[in-house]
Amino acid sequence: MAPAFLASRTVPSGYMKKLLRLMTHALIGAAAATLPFGGAAQAQTARATAPNVETFTLDNGLDVVVVPDRRAPVVTHMIWYRAGSADEPPGKSGIAHFLEHLMFKGTKKHPAGEFSNQVSELGGQENAFTSYDYTAYYQRVPKTALKTVMEFEADRMTGLVLTDEVVLPERDVILEERRMRTDSDPSAQLSEAVSAALWMNHPYGLPIIGWEHEMQTLNRDDAIAFYERFYTPNNAILVIAGDVDKAEVETLARETYGAVPRRFATPVRNRPTEPPQLAARQVALADARVRQPSVSRVYLSPSYRTAEGEQAYALDLLSVILGGGSTSRLYRSLVVEQGIAASAGAYYSGTALDANRFAVYALPRPGVELTALEKAIDAEIGRLTRDGVTPEELDRAKTRLIAETIYDLDNQTSLARTFGVALTTGMSVEDVVNWPERIKAVTAEDVAAAARTVLVTRQSVTGLLEPAPTGDRP
């Protein structure tokens, strides 16, 4: 809930270039998790430079990850469920996220508000977020409060109590959330259409927050049904980062989560898969509210879980070389040399259970047609798939990605997130810890091969955001 007024003052990270990057990302609609209490979801990655991580599993099947960071007497406590919007039943879009909100409405043991009051009195901060493949709840608290939040979190794994008195106002809240995030922003509306076109069969094509007409019908029974299908210790991961060690956590976890019974068999997540994609698609949104147009191209691409060999690692490097900053090919060519774009870049969403997206985008300078930008993007992609990448480019990209993992060591919450995302999207702790070594091993040939396999137009959707013709109201 960052204050909004004059953001450059109140949000210290609001530096112009970062803002522009964020804006661009928002314009292009990089899929993000949604949160129950505001704030922007961070980019999710699953990589780390060998932090001192330890794991164990309780008898009831709860996986536990401990990431000691003893610099301050603070801990980040997160519980992750292997359940996201892509696991929703047909016609119930938004129920994973709605349930996430309703998890704050009290249990048999602790009535509504008690947990939040307790966290607040302990000097803690809390929130939760939902994405395609996971739902997670967390508290950041002084170390001395760890056991208390573990008790509360374990309690709401089984004891949720919902009545229409709390469910119906909260449904209004998520509808307001949708109005805020999506309906007030043409680029977010276009992003929904791009996703719906990209996944012809897989539920990643549905928005995490849900379609409005389906959200309006969600009720208590839908929420409880989703809860009773996915919320069980054997379908969850506990991640604790901060001023703790494995022995302490093991004792506390047995006393709290250890008492929660395995409620049902671990759900199997078999989503409908994509057929071969044979037709390039294009979606366009013209709206009177658009004054800065944009073009994006989103390719269906393997995720870390579905990719073969080094392909996903190569795609991460490809996204940096093609569009990861001021020296990237798209930025250099379209923004610096040709001067036809105000901004250009690329990103790869590889941490996902199923095939996900590799995207490129550009924002035109005034007077430049989107078709001209698209041609320029295609020319750069063509050059890269034809000639490959240079050793210097590859080295710079590796240096950058590996340095980011070292910088992440400074932030216990992002470390905790790293492991949570990995373990809910089919990766292992070893995958995370070995990530820098695997990145180092990628060759220029790997990157070129990945580009040739993934950057194929018939497996893509092009999204055009344009101003409405004069006089045309949306």
Partner: protein
């Protein structure tokens, strides 16, 4: 004590939560007199530096806002004998991250480096701060990016609301202008404007520096001189007039074809050095602060489902202060939402908080303070802000005691002073229903203006 030509004065201990994690804040003074606050901490092989020149976009020419902001986008786009691409490549090869930004009252910078690359990092930062080239190509490119953002903002409900709110609260004052500028002003900025701003604002006496990470005082002191030593001793800042928010009691409605109304509201707040500031922090926490237990959150969201987000905050400035907040609700319920919020302002003003509310607010505010200091980047940012706020080096040690000392009577007094009759300047963007666009609550605009200058 003098250690090899550098001065390390008193140390303060950050004992926010238990002595075990006490981190020493050292006052490091370079041979040429540049002062940095340092927390030397080598667990993670990273160094974070945050610094700021007092001044900021309030120093922009009133006829041409956006100069400070545009300059902040250009310092790492070529410096010394490195052109833009060469400079960016050096950053990538060394994994050094440099960022600049302008706020209303300061021009800020930050540096993040792996400790093994610190020599490269300090040299790149020196170049950016003292020898940025401001070549024509990057000026046009960053100008184009800024204009793209302004065009995007021009139809974004939140940005429209912020711009309108600032202009209404601070007419004919630098705080009424957006740091980013306008499409017209950004288009008109020249290289000379940028050079002039830099010459007037980048100096040693208005510079604050905070450093956290794997570096010691002996290494930092000479580095400070290397990075900043070439800057002039004194800046040439123009005075900024004190101002208190105007148009309290007024509604401004901006028509936008969206299903939800974005609302900003506010009235006079406090400068940071006001003796009532700490009680005001407690008061704001009870009213609409950052947990899920505030009065606004409970009444607007929890009980009625009127909004996803509702909050209030104190926004202290060098020459003013705001108590402001925001909410977004569907058009049909906008009038209901703002009436409810005003009622909350009034009831806290009239009745003050309960003992229980005060006790809970103190527990949260003292308990959570440590969460602001759990990473090097956050500590560096926090120390820089403490210095910008003119607070002493032992502030972190004393801050929780200041919160603890706040009484119900203190909060009552401050609530009366700040919330007054509950009249607000309200800006609404959307198609709000039940929402006049004139004055509110039977208070004539002129009277409201008079009351605003508390």
């Amino acid at each position: 004590m003098i250690v090899r030509g550098l001065l390390v004065i008193v140390m303060s201990f950050m004992v926010v939560q238990g002595a075990a994690a006490a981190a020493k804040i050292q006052r490091v003074i370079s041979p040429s007199g540049i002062e940095a606050w340092l927390v030397s901490e080598d667990t993670v092989p990273v160094i974070a530096m945050d610094f700021a020149f007092r001044g900021g976009s309030a120093q922009d020419d009133a006829a041409k806002p956006g100069v400070a902001n545009l300059l902040s986008g250009l310092l790492d786009e070529g410096a010394g004998n490195l052109d833009s691409q060469a400079f960016q490549q050096r950053l990538e090869e060394t994994s050094v991250e440099i960022a600049f930004g302008a706020t209303r009252d300061s021009f800020d910078g930050s540096l993040k480096t792996l400790s093994e690359k610190k020599e490269d990092a300090f040299e790149l930062l020196r170049l950016a701060v003292t020898e940025a080239r401001l070549d024509a190509e990057p000026i046009e490119r960053i100008r184009a990016q800024t204009l793209a953002r302004l065009r995007h903002n021009s139809t974004d409900p939140g940005d429209i609301a912020q711009e309108t709110f600032a202009a209404s609260a601070f007419p004919d004052h630098p705080y009424g202008l957006r740091t980013i500028g306008t499409e017209e002003s950004v288009a008109a900025i020249t290289r000379d404007d940028l050079v002039q701003f830099r010459a007037n604002n980048f100096a040693r006496s208005n510079l604050v520096v905070a450093v956290v990470g794997a570096i010691d005082a002996e290494t930092l002191a000479p580095a400070l001189d290397r990075i900043f030593g070439a800057l002039p001793a004194e800046p040439k800042l123009k005075p900024v007039a004190e101002i208190w928010p105007k148009n309290i009691g007024q509604n401004q409605v901006i028509d936008l074809d969206v299903p939800q109304t974005t609302i900003l509201f506010g009235r006079g707040g406090l400068m940071r050095e006001d003796p009532d500031y700490i009680p005001a922090v407690v008061m704001n926490h009870i009213l609409g602060g950052g947990t899920f237990t505030s009065r606004l959150f409970t009444e607007v969201r929890e009980k009625r489902g009127l909004a996803y987000s509702v909050y209030s905050y104190l926004d202290p400035m060098e020459r003013s202060g705001l108590l402001a907040g925001g909410v977004a609700t569907k058009n049909e319920r906008a009038g209901e939402a703002i009436d409810l919020i005003e009622a909350q302002f009034r009831s806290l003003s009239e009745d003050g908080p309960t003992e229980d509310e005060l006790a809970k607010a103190k527990k949260y505010l003292t308990g959570s303070y440590a969460l602001n200091f759990d990473s090097s980047a956050k500590i560096a940012r926090g120390l820089k802000q403490i210095r910008l706020n003119h607070l002493p080096i032992d502030y972190i040690d004393n801050r929780n005691a200041l919160i603890e000392a706040v009484t119900v009577d203190d909060v009552k007094r401050v609530a009366k002073r700040l919330l007054g009759d509950g009249q607000l300047l309200v800006v609404a963007v959307g198609k709000p229903v039940g929402f006049g666009s004139a004055s509110r609550g039977g208070v004539a605009p002129e009277a409201a203006r008079g009351a605003a200058a508390e």
